[in-house]
């Protein structure tokens, strides 16, 4: 049904859902905020109800590894915000990615992934999952033909991040969705950098979404968590590629998830197998804190984006800055695509290259006072890291460049402070770089004389 001549009713808006989805005032106590159900297990009223809960005949909670009432509010809220049929929250973003992959892939299977992904994701795909027989081919995220050409007979998943790392390449989700679906493959998208406020990948053609909730969703750098959202859009029985969903599962009394759960087949198996057996569940206190963050997600993302754009524009015109990679700037190669796909903004994480290499990067970082030097993004506070002197300090220059990381590359996560204070802080850092350049020039002159 693709026509749009008639008008249908509009559902609740994004801001309303950010505050309310998944929760009504507690019917017992009247509590308006989501209660923290700090309980490992839940009492069965009788044996038949217990059996029914285990057999997925009844709705409810058994044990907090499988589900928990506080976590369920966050799960339903994320499903509502991302337009999915359901979600499962996990102990971290990495756990969410692992859960998404292992719900449908087994030893011998293959993934085609963008090569511009978070370093931890690259480790998981390249090194760790390969130990368990799941291999990955990495391709240029801007090259749709490369994705198509990398698909093999055993490929089961296409994966990418909305905004690539570290170059902030904008993934053309509608086009990649066409490539994946033409090969009867689902498209999994990591939307951590954008959140559903800036981009809803399922609406653009993705089938599954993962987030690190540690970042902008919770928004305050106080928790670690993840979420997998199932769009309910993919037909797992359109081929024989997905036996975990289309064939009887001995581990659940020969249940065929796609037969019985239809659009919710994936997310049901993720909960009934992946969370049950791998056990990377979220603590209810964590879910509560992420829910507090979600309540202000729209307001925070607006300020994050506005600040990021102002800071990026400032850096771009500075003499000590060789380049800025932010798709919100017309200089970025994906600016036009970003305008279409991310009309509300391109997030608040970006990188830029300082003139002067590793020493300049180090001098810059160590001169900052408002930006915090640490390995995270998506905090309300502004963050900064210089990969060449920290996460990649053992890597030689040639290898760094091969990864798209210049020796003077600095990554910023722009927070919610006053933009003028952030710019003043960066000015101080760039003055330190200028000083370094002058010292080097003086030294060179002295050496010549």
């Amino acid at each position: 049904m693709t026509n749009s001549k008639h008008r249908g009713p509009q559902g609740m808006g994004f801001d309303t859902l950010s505050l309310h989805a998944g929760q009504v005032p507690d019917p017992t106590t009247g509590a308006r905020a989501t209660p923290i159900y700090q309980s490992a297990a839940f009492v069965f009223p009788d044996s038949d109800v217990a059996a029914g809960l285990f057999n997925i005949e009844r709705a409810g909670h058994v044990y907090s590894r499988l589900s928990n009432p506080t976590n369920a509010v966050l799960e339903e809220r994320m499903a509502a915000l991302d337009h999915g049929v359901g979600s499962v929250v996990t102990a971290s973003g990495q756990a969410a990615l692992h859960l998404a992959i292992t719900t449908i892939l087994s030893a011998g299977d293959h993934i085609v992934s963008s090569r511009s992904v978070y370093g931890g994701t690259h480790n998981l795909l390249e090194y760790t999952l390969s130990r368990f027989g799941i291999s990955t081919t990495f391709v240029d995220p801007r090259d749709m033909d490369a994705f198509a050409n990398a698909i093999q007979a055993n490929t089961k998943l296409v994966f990418g991040e909305v905004l690539g790392n570290p170059g902030l390449e904008v993934l053309d989700i509608p086009s990649l969705s066409e490539v994946a679906h033409a090969h009867h493959l689902p498209l999994l998208i990591d939307a951590t950098f954008v959140t559903p406020y800036l981009c809803q990948p399922i609406e653009l053609g993705a089938d599954l979404v993962v987030h690190s909730a540690t970042k902008f969703l919770s928004g305050h750098g106080v928790v670690v968590g993840g979420v997998v959202v199932d769009g309910g859009t993919f037909d797992w029985q359109s081929s024989d590629k997905f036996p975990t969903l289309s064939e009887p599962y001995v581990g659940f009394h020969n249940l065929v998830f796609a037969d019985e759960f239809g659009p919710a087949a994936f997310i049901t198996r993720a909960r009934k197998e992946g969370i049950r057996d791998f056990g990377a569940c979220m603590a209810p206190m964590t879910a509560f804190q992420i829910l507090q963050g979600l309540e202000t997600l729209p307001l925070r993302m607006q300020k994050h984006v506005a600040n990021a754009l102002e800071v990026a524009a400032y850096l771009e015109q500075h003499d000590m800055v060789a380049s800025v990679s932010y798709p919100g700037l017309p200089s970025h190669p994906d600016y036009e695509l970003a305008q279409k796909m991310l009309p509300k903004g391109c997030g608040a994480v970006f990188s830029f290259e300082i003139n002067g290499g590793r020493d300049a990067g180090r001098a810059f970082i160590e001169s900052l006072n408002v930006f915090s030097h640490l390995a995270n993004v998506g905090d309300a506070k502004s963050l900064v890291i210089h990969p060449a002197s920290t996460t990649h300090h053992r890597v030689d220059e040639a290898s760094l460049l091969a990864s798209g990381i210049g020796p003077g590359l600095v990554r910023l996560s722009v927070g919610l402070e006053d933009a003028k204070d952030l710019i003043n802080d960066l000015k101080g850092g760039l003055r330190a770089v200028e000083k370094l350049h002058k010292q080097a020039a003086a030294q060179q002159a002295e050496n010549r004389s």
Binding site: H6, A72, G86, G262
Partner: protein
């Protein structure tokens, strides 16, 4: 699962059950544009309790071959043939229907009373007029038809969330289910509902449970009560705070009502 009827594939779920040949049978019939998966929880419950469960896809829906049928009576004729073919040895037969499926059950009970022993009708109304605005959008295969039906089918609580099923968005589940249906099927279903009449039916004598939701905008409680008044042997359960999508909105309350009625 797939079986053959009239030389065509019929999709259904047995709720993962392994019943005896003479086990009591329950047939579940979905509503307009839906498929058998809406019954997953009661299907699994009754299968575990020894019933022969068939949650069916009506022709043209889910995994059942089309074409979709034009009238409620045609759907009931088809269901009757399916019952004869697959539950001949059953000790007794219950049919449960939601919305359009409830009309199919009524038609079957009125015209083939020997085939069934009990009825359960969820979100029912007789007649079941469909608003022109919805019918017209469905005729044009316009997504607005899904938006209208899906929004109006959920009570206030489901609009905000707070699903009993952990981590599930009932609204988006409803939308995805309806998006799976082929072009023209939704219009055929709504037309069948719109044309439904009980004028030519014999009185329905089978014991019947009717479930109504007090926030049901598609088949308001008064419509369900009117159906109860038409039947010779009925009882009614009102679900508070529940809309038309009662199987997802209040799965436990629905299951309890069904179980009490069927198992006593």
């Amino acid at each position: 699962m797939i079986i053959q009827l009239d030389g065509k594939n019929v999709g259904f779920s047995n709720g993962s059950g392994h019943p005896a040949d003479n086990a009591p049978a329950i047939f579940f019939v979905h509503g307009a544009g839906m498929d058998h998966t809406v019954w997953v929880m009661p299907a699994r419950y009754f299968a575990r309790h020894g019933y022969r469960v068939m949650a069916v896809d009506l022709p043209g829906h889910g995994k059942s071959e089309g074409p979709a049928l034009d009238s409620v009576d045609a759907m009931a004729d088809w269901l009757g043939r399916l019952i004869e073919a697959s539950a001949a040895q059953a000790s007794d037969v219950t049919v449960m229907g939601h919305s359009m499926g409830s009309l199919v059950c009524m038609s079957l009970a009125a015209r083939y009373p020997a085939l069934i022993d009990q009825l359960v009708l969820l979100g029912t109304s007789a007649p079941m007029p469909v608003a022109d605005v919805l019918l017209n959008a469905a005729e044009d295969n316009d997504h607005a038809a899904i938006d209208m039906a899906n929004t109006w089918s959920h009570g206030q609580r489901s609009q905000l969330g707070a699903s009993d099923n952990p981590g599930t968005s009932n609204l988006h589940m409803g939308e995805r289910l309806l998006e799976r249906v082929a072009d023209d099927v939704y219009f055929k279903d709504f037309s069948a509902c719109n044309g439904f009449t009980t004028e030519h039916y014999d009185p329905i004598l089978a014991p019947t449970l009717i479930l109504t939701g007090d926030e049901d905008k598609m088949t308001p409680p008064r419509a369900g009560m009117a159906v109860a008044g038409m039947l010779q042997n009925s009882q009614i359960t009102h679900l508070r705070g529940c809309g038309h999508s009662m199987l997802s909105e209040q799965p436990n309350q629905v299951l309890d009502a069904m179980s009490e009625f069927i198992r006593g």
